[in-house]
């Protein structure tokens, strides 16, 4: 796997010239954002003065905020697209030649739903960065996604609720299995201890609770599955150890599921991933390092979990 030192070299020789062009676009884009914001805010103020009564202010405020975000998105869209093609795609190729980067929505709600990671019905999935490729013998794909469900209130207004936001990763698993096994963060046991375990075993929503022997793993995660033996077949002692190490090194909330001979991993992020900065310079190594580390974290899953070990009957 590439190191930060190699990245620095790549940044200096390949990315910096590209970033200089991007930086020019950024400045133009930023100015457009500032000008259009100023125009929108002035118009809002004028309308507010003409309206002149208190009740209208809130409405005008909300409306102009919506217009602002819409205009902002529109104004930066071209800049974002160029940035992703010029920089993110090159970074992906830099990490591994066998990977391909595409902008666009490649994970449908069905794919997400079938991972069985979240109990809620999924109505829409936003995703725009999609990476796919072969690491050793293991086919994998991942994307930054935002999965939501939609409700309507009594007035018929649409409300979107987040189910998951972060990196969603799918890879071919190196063993064959039939049922489903799900690993979720162990909140009940952390809070309630022994009683939590009891509560978990009564929760049959995800399947039966599987109690595993690795104490560190058990402290971090709760495992549910259709089949006690199959869950242990998948979660060998070495894989449990590797998952613990991965969780520690990534410092993120992680959920995993093993369904249909695939491993699905959801890593939660609060921030938007792989987005360019608009108000600060892009001629800086730090944001590039951040993109690199987020990408590398996902790509390294195959090695971290040893998915290339193909000593069993599955080819």
């Amino acid at each position: 796997m590439r190191t930060v030192k190699e990245l620095k070299n790549f940044y200096d020789t390949v990315l910096y010239p590209e970033l200089s062009v991007i930086e020019e676009q950024r400045i133009v884009t930023r100015n457009r954002v500032l000008i259009s914001s100023a125009v929108i805010i002035s118009i809002a103020l004028i309308i507010a003065m003409i309206a002149g009564y208190l009740n209208a202010y809130l409405g005008i405020g909300v409306f102009s905020f919506l217009v602002l975000t819409g205009v902002y998105r529109y104004v930066i869209s071209e800049y974002v697209r160029n940035f992703k093609i010029e920089i993110i795609e090159k970074l992906v190729k830099f990490i591994d030649q066998n990977l391909s980067y595409t902008r666009g929505n490649y994970f449908s709600p069905t794919v997400f739903q079938e991972s069985k990671l979240f109990n809620h019905r999924v109505d829409c999935v936003d995703s725009d960065d999609y990476v796919k490729g072969l690491i050793g013998q293991t086919a994998m794909e991942f994307s930054e996604i935002h999965a939501k469900y939609v409700t309507r209130d009594s007035k018929g207004r649409r409300h979107e609720h987040t189910i998951f936001k972060g990196l969603f990763f799918i890879a071919d698993f190196n063993k064959q299995f039939k049922g489903k096994t799900i690993i979720v963060p162990d909140t009940a046991e952390k809070i309630f201890g022994q009683l939590g375990t009891m509560l978990q075993s009564m929760n049959k929503f995800r399947g039966n609770l599987v109690k595993l022997e690795d104490p560190e793993f058990e402290k971090m995660f709760a495992v549910y599955g259709d089949d006690q033996i199959e869950a242990r077949y998948i979660l060998s002692t070495s894989l449990m150890k590797r998952i613990v190490d991965f969780k520690k090194s990534s410092k993120k909330t992680i959920q995993m599921s093993f369904v249909g001979s695939k491993i699905n991993i959801a890593v939660s992020y609060a921030k938007d991933l792989f987005e360019p900065r608009v108000f600060r310079t892009m001629l800086d190594f730090n944001p590039i390092k951040e993109y690199f580390e987020d990408l590398k974290m996902a790509v390294s899953i195959v090695e971290e979990l040893n998915l290339n070990t193909r000593i069993w009957t599955k080819e």
Binding site: L212, Q228, Y233, T237, W312
Partner: protein, 185 residues
């Protein structure tokens, strides 16, 4: 009067729950042991295949091959107690491990397609057996906890339930699954 009835019914229900809980745990143990048994049989079925594949190459391990064939015959003959089964399984595992190490001295054999396929199948079964053993140990621990902890322990002593032994999986044995580490020894 009716209060007394409710209390008696409550106690009755409680006893039934304890009783059923214990039976459930005992059956879980037996169920998993059944699976281990099936998996072991599957592995025994592979032994003749393994022996016939390797014997043309392995000139110095004739004795071992004859021995493992004899063990297999004993294992599949039936009429073995659970303890004997476990014991025999341990011996066979060790011997298989030995054969796999010895393979290192026969490059032709290592490259044999038939053998490679067989090795994968064996790894697969070893991994499944190891999973089943761990499931068995978890079920036994669950059962033993019930037998020793209050209030189920009272019920268990009345039903004459005793602690069951867990499988002791030696560190070395666990690594049998990982062929690479075997070869590097």
């Amino acid at each position: 009067m009716s209060m007394g009835l409710i209390i008696i019914a409550g106690i009755g229900l409680f006893i039934v729950m304890l009783y059923n809980g214990l039976i459930g745990k005992k059956n879980q143990v037996e169920n998993v042991f059944g699976t281990i048994d099936t998996l072991l049989k599957k592995r025994y079925d592979l032994i003749p295949n393994l022996v016939s594949t390797v014997q043309t190459y392995m000139q110095h391990e004739r004795g071992t091959l004859t021995e493992i064939t004899a063990m297999r015959a004993k294992a599949v003959s039936g009429n073995l107690s659970d303890d004997e089964k476990v014991d025999l399984d341990n011996k066979v595992s060790k011997m298989m491990g030995g054969i796999m190490v010895a393979v290192e001295n026969y490059p032709d054999l290592k490259a044999n397609q038939n053998f490679i396929q067989l090795q994968k199948t064996l790894n697969e079964i070893e991994e499944q057996i190891s999973a089943a053993r761990r499931a068995y140990n978890a079920a036994v621990t669950d059962f033993n906890n019930a037998v020793e902890m209050l209030p189920t322990s009272l019920m268990a002593s009345m039903m004459n339930y005793k602690r069951k032994q867990v499988f002791e999986i030696a560190e070395k044995e666990r690594q049998n699954v990982d062929v690479k580490s075997l070869f590097n020894k």
